[in-house]
């Protein structure tokens, strides 16, 4: 086809617009959080104390490091060091794996205590705690889905780098995937204090 063209700025603009939609998708949930925190302040406090701050902090560190790793990968591809770029992308994917494993451990502990959406134990607790844990599962769950999507996206980028679709001259795909990964990280940066720290 003669009408293929490369537009670096256009590709970036499109990605940023998409990131806006991600922010607004989570924005709806943050609105619910704000409204219910206002209504059930004391119950949210009780609920927040039951979350595992250690795992939460660990996951925050893992995600922050992963954001560094993908940023490094983008810098390496710009410098033409493809091997390093691939390895740092692998490192990012590994961080995603660690995050999901930690999340699973955390959720399993909650299930063990009889806390899952609509569980008999949760129904006996106060309305506010039910809403708190409902939001906890839905918001961190939706975020975990994004972590998994991000990991899949980065795996595709590794494949692209190996196929030389992404290289020193044309790296906007990796850059956009990196942007997506940063938004996943950034959303967690808001979720973490809201659930684990401020309550």
């Amino acid at each position: 086809m003669s009408n293929t063209h490369k537009d670096y700025a256009g590709a970036k603009l499109g990605m940023w617009l998409f990131l806006f939609t991600e922010v607004l998708l989570f924005g709806g949930m943050f609105v619910l959080y704000a409204a219910y925190l206002h209504e059930y302040r004391a119950d949210f406090h009780v609920g927040g104390k039951q979350l595992d701050v250690v795992i939460g902090t660990l996951n925050t560190v893992v995600l922050l490091f992963s954001s560094f790793a993908i940023a490094a990968a983008i810098t390496f591809i710009q410098q033409g060091k493809k091997k390093l770029a691939v390895n740092f992308t692998y490192l990012t994917i590994a961080c995603a794996g660690i995050f999901v494993i930690n999340k699973t451990i955390e959720w399993r502990a909650k299930f063990h205590h009889g806390i899952w959406p609509d569980s008999p134990h949760l129904r006996e607790m106060s309305h506010g705690e039910n809403i708190f844990f409902g939001l906890y599962f839905l918001m961190t769950g939706l975020h975990a889905v994004h972590v998994i999507i991000g990991a899949i996206l980065l795996s595709v980028m590794v494949w692209f780098m190996k196929k030389d679709v992404i290289n020193q001259q044309d790296f906007v795909k990796l850059e956009n995937a990196g942007l997506y990964w940063h938004i996943v990280d950034l959303i967690w940066i808001f979720l973490f204090p809201l659930f684990y720290l401020v309550l």
Binding site: M1, S2, N3, D7, A9, G10, L13, G14, L17, F18, F20, T21, E22, L24, L25, F26, G27, G28, M29, V31, L32, A35, Y36, E39, Y40, P117, D118, R123, S126, H127, G128, N130, I131, G134, L135, F137, L138, L142
Partner: protein, 539 residues
Amino acid sequence: MSSNSLSFWEDSGNGRTGIMAWLTTTDHKRIGLMYMYVILAMFIAGLCLGLAIRLELIAPGRTIMDAQTYNTVFTLHGVIMIFIVVIPSIPAAIGNLVLPIQLGAEDVAFPRLNLFSWYLYIGGTILALVSLFTGGGAPDTGWTFYVPFSEFTTTNVSVAVIAVFILGFSSILTGLNFITTIHRLRAPGMTWTKIPLFTWSLYATGWIQVLATPVLGITVLLIFAERVLGVGLFDPNKGGDPILYQHLFWIYSHPAVYIMILPAMGVVSDIIPVFARKPIFGYKTIAFSSLMIAFAGSLVWAHHMFTSGMSDTAVLIFSLLTFVVAIPSAIKVFNWTATLYKGSITVDPPLLYALGFIFLFSVGGLTGLILGSAGTDIHVHDTYFVVSHFHYVIFGGTGFGMFAAAHYWLPKYYGRMYNKTVAKVAFYILFIGFNLLYFPLFIIGLEGMPRRYYDYLPQYQEGHVISTVGSWILAVGVIIMLVNLIRGFTKGEKLKGRNPWGAATLEWTIPTPPPLLNFDKEPDTSRKPYDFQGVTPDE
């Protein structure tokens, strides 16, 4: 630029032929037409459902269907018309056909993403149809999916809301694509103040699609989660608040009516000057008012909820903001009439439909102010007054805008002209049928006829009978119009020239029908979009 003389009908650009050439195409014109065919089919389906509702309401009590069927029929009418027909109608179908050419571009910024949007649209449409025939039967919640009923009804709401999520995603990607195209692919010399107003309106629409639709996405996902997991976020028995659902729903769904109406306003802004042979009055104000509507329209959602339980302060603020939106809308109407003033007017079918838009939209807009002021809204809330207002804006506005766009642009793409006399006759029948159908509903609404009810008191019957008869006249008008268009585009007279209406925007400077890459020579961006000096019709 290729000097290819083949049109996009003959040159698929992907080396394939037949149906596969269409299903794998990344050509914006083919994708636009594929949207249009599906929208047309679903429009006819939605129209039949609407006619069934009207027939049921011709007399009190049971006429042709039972109450549960009636609930599912009006839900389907709403879901199909809103999410599958009206939202994609002008942006996705006409926008795809016209926008890149108006900018002097060969295609949209992300052609493959454009095709992907179409597949998402088809996937969502199929899933919506699947929800009718599987599970516990077709949804019966109304198109708003209000909680708590939508969480507990045994009908197939779960599948329907996922369909809405997918359709929303398709809409987001189309908006994103158009915004990027307008920013990045304007031909050299195509400055922001030379962009035709139709494309300007799609720019404002694109921003609403990108910024508002995700909120609908999360809202319908939450309904799905509630139905599957039973978290209770909107269930008062578990501590949830149903009003919050209404807020989230309308944060999207009110801006969504501007997704529906803004492109139609763009169509009218492009058509009026061509048939008045005069530059548009107040180009910059019209372009800016589109952005104003997009912005202010995002801040008025709670005017749907004046009776739902809100503080008086909130009611006052949302009422005020609603009145603010009327200003940019009125600016447009005044600018259109000012353009017509002392113009050299030719009453061709596109202008007739555009004038129909102005009249019907004005009725819809002004009655919207009655609904927007908190005091009167309490009286007419959830009555047929709302139904009538809504149909005047969306059918009288977007619907007639779409018809105008079809009569204006499609001859260019099919290379054939329809019968103009029949098109005018169809318009008058449509216009009379439309007002007979919806105007009586204002009156019975003011008298207290509640919307969505299956049955009613005998005192409302007169209005319902007139309305139902109007629906038949409207249907006749639609059929005549569509048959005339389809006959015209398959067997009508071939267009020899490039510019049948004598318009000055870029899409009329290229061959008819357009070649694959749109332009046979560099687009000439020196002319302003509504400068008709030296431009003559060339059929």
